[in-house]
């Protein structure tokens, strides 16, 4: 048994402190992203999620320049961008793509400038790659309480708003007829989305953050008819992809040609995609299978 384990897990995986930190923070982030992601898919706001994640690069770059935790940078800028989208009109179905696109364009322009300034400062492209594509094994232990705090905030908000948010996501009309403040619920959700993609950007990078948001959620929605189960399944898929991705990335240091580990973000995103495709293929075979 031990030898089999050694064949799969290269030595030192479980005892390495950076690996443990990456696994803890990665799991936390995966759960938050997946839970928020279920609502993102149901509401058809994946584009907003993608944009908020990408814009997070601006925050990551400014945090790098200012020398503060990237968590603050990612969260701060995503929340600001969400507020801008809301003001431009993300609530109206037709205004949504416009608001998202406008903010995304502006955010990326700013990111280009800040990342450029960042490379001038250090004359390497290391920070750029970290901001855009993440680097779970180089997370700072001081980020853990921040990620934990923001993650808990999102989960508590979603738990409190669960039923009104679900109803408003299914049908704004039904929610409005019950006297629910549909617009306010939408704003609260957009803020939760901003924080979730920001946290996701901390681990797997700004560009890839939507993968953890939308992938596990979309896979879970294909597997179950029940909203509660979809949330639990999405969280499990997200955590599984993250842990397995970290393991493969760690192992890849030992793969030939040696001494070049592959980025964990690649493995995580690839696993999320494989999971989704497997479920989609199975469903293609037997259309009515989902329970």
């Amino acid at each position: 048994m031990a030898t089999l384990l050694h064949a799969i897990v290269e030595p030192g995986f479980f005892s390495s402190a950076p690996v443990r930190l990456a696994a803890e923070m990665g799991a936390l982030v995966a759960i938050v992203a997946a839970v928020v992601g279920v609502f993102t898919v149901v509401r058809g706001q994946a584009f907003s999620g993608e944009a908020l994640g990408d814009i997070g690069a601006t925050g990551g770059a400014s945090a790098y320049l200012a020398g503060i935790s990237s968590v603050w940078g990612f969260v701060g800028i995503s929340v600001l961008a969400a507020a801008a989208m809301e003001l431009i009109g993300v609530q109206r179905a037709r205004g949504r793509d416009i608001a998202t696109g406008v903010v995304l364009g502006a955010g990326f322009g700013l990111a280009a400038l800040l990342i450029y300034l960042g490379t001038l400062q250090t004359s390497t492209s290391g920070s750029t790659v970290t901001i855009l594509f993440g680097s779970p094994f180089t997370l700072s232990p001081s980020d853990l309480p921040l990620v934990l705090g923001f993650g808990a905030l999102v989960l508590v908000t979603l738990a409190a708003l669960y039923r009104p948010l679900l109803l408003a996501s299914i049908s704004p009309e039904l929610a409005a007829a019950r006297g629910l403040p549909v617009r306010l619920i939408g704003v609260a959700y957009l803020m939760a989305l901003a924080v979730a993609v920001a946290l996701s950007a901390v681990t797997i990078g700004a560009i890839l953050s939507t993968a953890l948001l939308v992938g596990p959620a979309a896979t879970a929605l294909a597997l179950t008819n029940r909203p509660g189960r979809a949330l639990a399944l999405a969280a499990m898929i997200g955590v599984a992809a993250t842990w397995l991705g970290l393991l493969l990335a760690y192992d890849s240091y030992y793969w030939p040609p040696r001494h070049h580990g592959w980025p964990p973000s690649f493995f995580i995103v690839a696993l999320v995609l494989i999971g989704y495709l497997a479920v989609a293929a199975r469903r293609g075979g037997g259309r009515r299978g989902a329970r």
């Binding site: 149901v42 058809g44 039923r163 679900l166 009309e173 039904l174 409005a176 019950r178 006297g179 029940r226």
Partner: protein, 264 residues
């Protein structure tokens, strides 16, 4: 007679220079099934929005017995759910019970049984565990009616619930609603641009044309003199084999489409 379930008094709504509703007055009583009839653009949806409190009238008042919240059940127009939405009919009905509450739902036997009883009352038990978005139009209507009724409202509003249904499903939904009105003592108001499917069960009618309304029993309202007065020009009410057709006197008039489309 008890207090009306709904009292609409001289309601006027103006969008810019256009008067969408003009002094609309009628009452609904519990146990009655009322059709809100009018062609597209006559003001039906605006009137329902006023009753729901989503549009405030420029003049007039709407009084709902027992207050607005929880006392009105509503089934929106053209409800189309994504087929991949992870939601069973059962879940949607449960959201009708406590969808406005904060916090996570606490499953209890009592909650489950209430949902089950509601599903049985609308004949939706058979498909209650399938994805709502994959159900047929008639099946979705039953789930939505259950969603609206489970909070035990005194007033049930339905916006064009028959629009996307085939004739058989439409008949089934209409007789279900009539039965619910009578047995559960609920005032049911159902908007439609085509009145014939409602004729067999309709207790009263509110007829809207150009934002103005007349109300009463079918025999009082669906008459050549009454509707001509409402439209402000001559229309003929024809009865053919138990069906009613309203035909505009002047074919060039912009109301002509209404008369012609009444035949199906």
């Amino acid at each position: 007679m008890d207090q009306p379930a709904l009292d609409v008094a001289s309601v006027t709504v103006q969008f810019g220079s256009r008067r969408v509703l003009d002094g609309v007055t009628f009452q609904l009583r519990r146990g009655e099934f009322t059709g809100l009839i009018g062609s597209n653009g006559a003001g039906k949806t605006t009137l329902l929005r006023v009753i729901l409190g989503q549009q405030s009238p420029d003049q007039g008042t709407v009084t709902i017995a027992g207050g607005r919240h929880g006392a009105v059940g509503y089934v929106p127009q053209k409800f189309l759910l994504d087929p991949d939405m992870p939601l069973r009919g059962r879940d949607l009905v449960a959201l009708g019970l406590d969808g406005h509450r904060l916090g996570l739902p606490r499953p209890s036997r009592q909650r489950r049984e209430r949902v089950q009883a509601m599903l049985a009352a609308v004949g939706a038990e058979r498909f209650a565990d399938a994805r709502v978005g994959r159900l047929s139009g008639g099946e979705q209507q039953r789930i939505l009616i259950a969603h609206a009724l489970i909070s035990e409202p005194q007033l049930l509003l339905l916006d064009e619930p028959l629009a996307n249904l085939d004739l058989r499903s439409a008949k089934e939904v209409v007789s279900l609603l009539a039965q619910i009105a009578r047995e559960q003592r609920i005032a049911v108001l159902i908007s439609a641009h085509e009145m014939n499917p409602l004729l067999p069960v309709m207790d009263r009618v509110v007829y809207l044309a150009d934002g103005r309304a007349v109300s009463g029993t079918t025999d009082e309202v669906i008459r050549t003199d009454v509707l001509s007065h409402l439209y402000g020009h001559h229309v003929d009410v024809l009865r053919l084999h138990g069906r009613v057709v309203v035909v505009a006197g002047d074919i060039d008039d912009h109301h002509a489409d209404h008369g012609v489309l009444e035949v199906d």
